[in-house]
Amino acid sequence: METYMLLGFVLILSIYLGLELISKVPSTLHTPLMSGANAISGIALVGALVLSQDGDLQTTLAFLAVVFASINVFGGYLVTNRMLKMFKKK
């Protein structure tokens, strides 16, 4: 229970930090920010890697979670990078 409290504390602080950090973003960057954040949500990959694999169902779930999170990570970062490279000042 104490661990949950501590982690809950981390959760609340991180959300607050996020809101403060990103509150003023120029509209040019709305899409890259969204797609960059989307790539970060692929952090679920870390969770997927440590799932238990007792039995076929568990192994399948872990494998699928890894595959889909990886698509999210690689696709997200690459497309964000591609997009940001297009933004330039003359």
């Binding site: 991180s14 899409t31 949500s41 696709g75 297009m86």
Partner: protein, 460 residues
């Protein structure tokens, strides 16, 4: 050996803290034009570090590494091949995959028999957010790529919307009841099915024009789902990274909702449909069509031009031709600006991405607040496939459903060209009095063809 086995989790946790700091710095830098590329790189580096350190001591590395490789190949192919006009649906798709991953994590944790009330509740919540994000994003993908055509008022939509509410009710039930009974597989299966169908019902009733809000919200959900998965697995980097995504998605959602002058609740659960009929007042006046060659003559003599793009420009894929026209105007000594409304298009910043792809410098892209005060000195405002974001009813007609929405006030410019395919109304279903103003000229036809016509007139 004994010391080593104790140390691995400690080393991992320390590394996770470093990764979290990099994520925070990365997302902060992503919010500024000059540092955005570096910010994205930092966050990718953080991801690499976090994943690499997790790989130490995983069970069945061969299988999981092959999973990563498959994901990397599929993700990279999609990301490198996608056209810039299809970015909205691709973001929706990736978002769905992220949601699916957390959904699967929650499922797997359920099979581990959660022990406490808290753990059980977390499994259910993570499962629900992940599942709704997954199927909701797929529906958003279908709508954005126009593969899915189900009217938001149809019977099917109503069924799915009902399922969404049932799923929510069942979720509450399962959170508060399951900890006290024996966890049954059947019970959990029902929850899984309800949640997945409910996600469809969450997005299905939301119209195409409200998509920027929905995409940002789903984006936020995928982050929150990851953060909850972090609570479930006692993993701090998941919590920090997930929360940052949740927060950034939430901010974008609020920005989008403000740009429409509507509450998030109204967009998600009401829509425009309820208020459509009241605004069809008949005394609209006359439409003044104009030909390409006449439009050219006016543009040639203009000293300042404001281009206002909308979703129609994306549909016609006219961004490159628009840039060409802008350059020709500049060579002619005309000052050219682009007025970008935050909700123009189908995702936040949609128009900015398209124009950037066409090599338009971002310092000529202006927001409504920058262009509205000086609108009366603009000689020609060229509206390309935008409708509701330039509808003067928003400022003039208190009875209009879109009254109060911040718009780009092109009607105050000396002349307005509206490039439009036909006289149909925008997604809001509201007639646009702009088309009937005395200073408005309608240039009917495909936006790309009309602009190419103007471009070739300039070249002659």
């Amino acid at each position: 050996m004994d010391i080593l086995s104790i140390n691995i989790p400690t080393i991992q946790n320390i590394t996770y803290i470093i990764a979290s700091v990099l994520f925070i710095t990365g997302i902060k830098m992503l919010g500024k034009e000059s540092t955005a590329v570096k910010g994205n790189f930092l966050s990718a580096l953080a991801m690499f570090i976090a994943v690499a350190i997790t790989c130490i001591g995983i069970v069945n590395p061969l299988l999981l590494f092959s999973g990563i490789i498959i994901g990397a190949i599929v993700g990279s192919i999609i990301a490198l091949k996608v056209k810039m006009t299809s970015i909205p649906e691709m973001v929706a798709l990736f978002n769905g995959f992220g949601g699916l991953a957390t959904f699967l994590i929650a499922w797997s944790e359920f099979n581990n028999n959660p022990e406490s009330f808290f753990q059980s509740a977390l499994v259910m919540i993570t499962l629900a957010i992940g599942g709704i994000t997954f199927t909701g994003s797929l529906v958003a993908y279908g709508k954005l790529s126009e593969k899915l055509k189900i009217a938001k008022t149809s019977f099917i939509t109503k069924i799915f919307t009902t399922i969404f509410y049932i799923a929510l009710a069942f979720l509450c039930y399962s959170i508060f009841v399951t900890p006290f009974i024996v966890q049954s597989f059947e019970f959990f299966t029902i929850l899984i099915i309800l949640v997945l169908l409910g996600g469809i019902g969450f997005v299905l009733p939301i119209g195409g024009g409200d998509m920027p809000v929905v995409i940002s919200l789903l984006n936020s959900f995928s982050g929150i789902a990851a953060a909850f998965a972090g609570l479930l697995l006692f993993n701090n980097v998941l919590i920090v990274a997930g929360s940052l995504v949740g927060a950034s998605g939430l901010i974008l959602t609020v920005i989008m909702a403000k740009a429409m002058n509507r509450s998030i609740g109204n967009i998600l659960f009401v829509g425009y449909a309820s208020s459509g009929t009241s605004a069809t007042s008949e005394e609209q006046g006359e439409i003044n069509p104009i030909s390409v060659s006449d439009a050219y003559l006016i543009l040639e003599n203009a000293s300042s031009v404001l281009i206002v793009p909308g979703y129609g420009m994306a549909v016609a894929q006219a961004q490159h031709t628009v840039r060409e026209l802008g350059e020709l105007l500049e060579e002619n000594g005309t000052e050219v600006k682009y007025g970008i409304h935050p909700v123009a298009g189908r995702m936040p910043g949609h128009m900015n991405v398209l124009l950037a792809e066409a090599n338009v410098s971002y310092d000529v892209l202006a927001e409504p607040d920058d262009v509205n005060p000086t609108m009366d000195v603009v000689d020609v405002a060229v509206v390309i496939g935008a409708n509701d974001v330039v509808n003067p009813s928003a400022t003039e007609e208190p009875g209009s459903p879109i009254y109060g929405m911040p718009i780009i006030e092109v009607h105050n410019a000396k002349t307005v060209f509206v490039l439009k395919r036909s006289m149909s109304s925008g997604f809001a279903g509201v007639q646009n009095p702009l088309f009937f103003k005395s200073n408005t000229r309608m240039l009917f036809g495909d936006a790309k063809e009309s602009i190419s016509g103007l471009v070739s007139e300039f070249k002659d």
